[in-house]
Symmetry: C2
DNA sequence: CAAGTAGTTTAGAACGGTTTTAAAGTAAAA
DNA sequence: TTTTACTTTAAAACCGTTCTAAACTACTTG
């Protein structure tokens, strides 16, 4: 399925800008990135895009499930093209994230989900510190 | 151990402002809060404190391990007086956090820690969605 | 294909949480 | 007591993100 189809399937109009973003993000290689990272990459590929459009686009992609946003307490939003159920190592000094495939972690025991709610995804973060 | 001693043990001067914050946070009852929450509480207790001081104080407390900061991708930093190893439910609609005691989750399998690093804490976030 | 309309992009302003600045104040050390 | 290092503060600055409103573009309908 090409990117135009991916966008249409997700209910998004394949505008010029969204296609540029899709070409960068939906190429099968997973990565973590910020809005600014993405804008830089767009600029250095000879295109250009307003930062507002970058944010709009990321929000739409996220709401459609084409990308994810990672749970970290950093001051900048981090997005992830890996939409599979998975986890992360977090280097707290640098903020760097490394994927942990779902198969590499398994939970033996889970707490009872509060009344009236359902489990909508589990994220495990393993914080790393440099070993001296 | 009283709060003055706790501050000194942590290597912090027990200033008037830090004592006010300690009286609110280090009373044995755990809670999640933002800098603004804390300032409001200080104000409504008849004291007052500049927002810069609230932030300075929270940063110091955090670096000393008197409080923790929770990993969430919300736009406001969330702090936690519960410094024990524990986890959270996250209601993604409201941003509300609920503690999960460490005993309520157990991990069967862990990934290999990248070379040169050590495991510096695992945080599990279980995202909740309202059940209809 | 033309005209209409609903959705999208944009620059720039606004926003909100957090940090910095620099001056005044305070705790501890000498 | 004097000195020194640290702390607090209001206000400004900062920075990531969202809003605004006008121009533009993709799609629909006739």
């Amino acid at each position: 399925m090409n990117n135009k189809e991916k966008l249409r399937n997700a209910g998004l109009r394949p505008t010029k800008q969204r296609m540029i973003v899709a070409d960068i993000l939906l190429n099968g290689f997973n990565r973590h990135f910020t809005a600014e990272n993405l804008q830089d990459e767009i600029n250095s590929s000879g295109n250009s895009m307003s930062i507002a459009t970058v944010y709009n686009c990321l929000k739409k992609f996220k709401n459609c499930g084409l990308i994810k946003q990672v749970e970290t307490s950093k001051d900048t939003a981090i997005f992830d093209t890996n939409t599979d159920y998975h986890h992360h190592f977090l280097n707290e000094e640098t903020g760097e994230l490394i994927d942990i495939e779902n198969e590499e972690i398994s939970l033996r025991k889970l707490p009872e989900i509060p009344q009236g709610y359902i489990n909508n995804g589990i994220e495990v973060i393993i914080k790393l510190k440099r070993h001296n």
